[in-house]
Subunit: 329 residues, 2 copies
Amino acid sequence: MLRIVLTFVSVGLLQSYPAQSEWSLAIHGGAGGVPKDLPAAEVQQIKDTLRKALDAGRQILSSGGTSVDAVEKAVRVMEDSGVLNAGRGAVLNHKGFAELDAAIMNGRDHKAGAVAALRHIANPVGLARLVMDRSPHVLMVAEGAEEFALEQGVALVPETYFVTERRRHDLEQEIASEHKSLTQNNLPWHPVGTVGAVALDEKGDLAAATSTGGLTNKHFGRVGDSPLIGAGTYAENGVCAISATGAGEVFIRYTAAADTCARVRYRKESIDSAAKEVIALLKAAGGDGGMIAMDASGHVAMPYSSQTMLRGEVSSRSQAHIVVETVEP
Amino acid sequence: MLRIVLTFVSVGLLQSYPAQSEWSLAIHGGAGGVPKDLPAAEVQQIKDTLRKALDAGRQILSSGGTSVDAVEKAVRVMEDSGVLNAGRGAVLNHKGFAELDAAIMNGRDHKAGAVAALRHIANPVGLARLVMDRSPHVLMVAEGAEEFALEQGVALVPETYFVTERRRHDLEQEIASEHKSLTQNNLPWHPVGTVGAVALDEKGDLAAATSTGGLTNKHFGRVGDSPLIGAGTYAENGVCAISATGAGEVFIRYTAAADTCARVRYRKESIDSAAKEVIALLKAAGGDGGMIAMDASGHVAMPYSSQTMLRGEVSSRSQAHIVVETVEP
C-alpha cells in the first residue's frame, strides 16, 4: 500500500522537474541483516522504519529542501525507531550502557559536524548538525559534547532511554563468549544496524549522515568509523556522498569513505567500481561491511561484503524501494 | 656542538649500510613558530627538545629499530618537554584544563591507535600505541580511554601536571578576545606547537605519530585532526607517512593526510607536489598549517602556509637539522 503511494509521488515528480533538478536519497540500516529468529513484529518494525525514513527524506527533497536536511531527518527517524543500532535501541558497551556516535557532512562547502561517545543524547545526528552549524569545531566527544548540547538547549535523556531487552540479551551473549572475541584479530563485531543516509538535492548539493551505537561489548570510550570524516562519513559536491557500516576499526585504518571518493576524484572510477573495490579491500583486510555511495548525479552504489545490508532508495526518477533480508543468527 | 656529533654519527651510518637499508626521520613542533617575545631560555628549551627528539628517534632507527618505535619515542620526548603543545605544556581548553589527543599508525599493516580528550595521561602517544597493540579498537576517548589506561597499568597524573604559566596566560588572552574568536568562520586558532613525527626504517616500513593539546580556549570535548586517521595522521607502506599541524577543523573536513596520500597513490604525484597542493587547498579553505610528509624512499616534504613551522630531520644520508624561527606574537 505504502509502495503504491510512493510510486505515485515519484511519477508526479518526474513530470514536475527538469533533468537538472533531479534528487536522490539512499539509506542503510546497517550491514548484516535481520536475524532469522527475530519476532515477526520486530521485522515489520524494521521495514516500517526504513520506509518511514525514506519517506521523510523524500518529502524534504521533493519539495526543494536541502540534502543535508534530508539526511538528518532520515537518520533521526531511524534513531527514534528502537529497532536499529542508533539512538534508542543502540547496542550496549561492555559496561552495559549505550555510547553513541554520529556525523553529518554537507558536500557543498565541506562543512561537517560529528559527535562521539555520547550517553544522554536521543538524536546524535541532531547534535552533530548543531556542532556543524553553531560551533567552530567539527568533532566533540563524551561529557564535553553533552555540555555543548545543554548550551544549545538540547535536553539530555537518561541512559535507560536507549536500552532495549534485545540489546541487553546481545550483550549477555557477547560477554559469555568474550574469551574468544576481545582479541586484536577477532573483533567482537556482530553486524547490527548502524544507520546512515546520503542524498543529492535539486541544487546539486550532496550530503551524508551516519549514526550508530557501535559494537556490542565494545570498550567504554571506543569510537568507530561512523563519526569520523573520511572513514564512515563523507560528502563532496561533484564527487561523492558516503555512509558506511561494518567493522569500524578496519574502515578507519583504510579511510574507507575518503578512499572511495579519491578513486572517483583522481582515477575517474565510477562510484560503483570505487565503492565495490574499497569494500573488497576492507574485506581482504578482515573488515566486513558495506556502504551506500552516491555520485554527483545521484546514482547510488550499495556494495557489501556481509551477508546482506538493510537498505533503501528513492529518487525523482524511481519509486521507493527497500531491502530487508533475514540471515542466520 | 651537538650538531657536530650528529654529523659524525650520520656519516658513520652512510658507510655501514647499503642503499636499501636507508632510514629517515622527520619531526615537527607545530605550525606557527616561536613568538618573538618568548624568553630566550624557553626558545633554547624548544631547540633542545627538537634536537633531543630527533636524536632519540635516530638512535632507534640507526640501530635497526622500527619506524613505529622511533616516531613514538620522538613524540614522547616532545610531550615531556613542557614547551610544546602536547603532553606537559599543552594548551588549555575554555574550562582551563588540558585535553590531549594523539595517534600512531604503522604503515606496514595499516594498524593504528588513537586517543582523544584525555585529561590525566602524561604521554598520549604511548596510550595510542597501547590501543593499537593491546586492544581490538583504533580510537578511544575521554573517561573510557583513561579506564583503558588504568587496565593497562598506565598511571594517571593530575590535571595540574599539564598546566604551565605560559598556557594559563594564553588562555586568559584568548578569553579576553573571545567575542571575535568563537564563531564559525573565525576559529580561535593560534598555531602553537602540535608535535609529530614520521619515519622510514631499514626494513622499508613507514610510520607516523602526532600528539597535541589542540586549540587554546577550545570547547570542552573538542577533538581536532591529530588523532584522526586520514586527517592529521596516516601511514601506508609504499605511499606515505604524514603528521599534520594547523587549523584542525579544516584538516578534518578535507581529510588532509588521506588526500595527500591519495594523490601519491592514484595520481603518482611526488610527495612534495602532493603535500604542497593539499596545504594550499587547506589554506584556500581557511585553514593555515603545515605537515611533514615522507614518501616510500624516506624523502621528506615539509610544506606550511603558516609563517613558519618548527621542524627537524635526520636520515642515514643526512645530518640532523632543525629549524626554529621566531614570528611576531
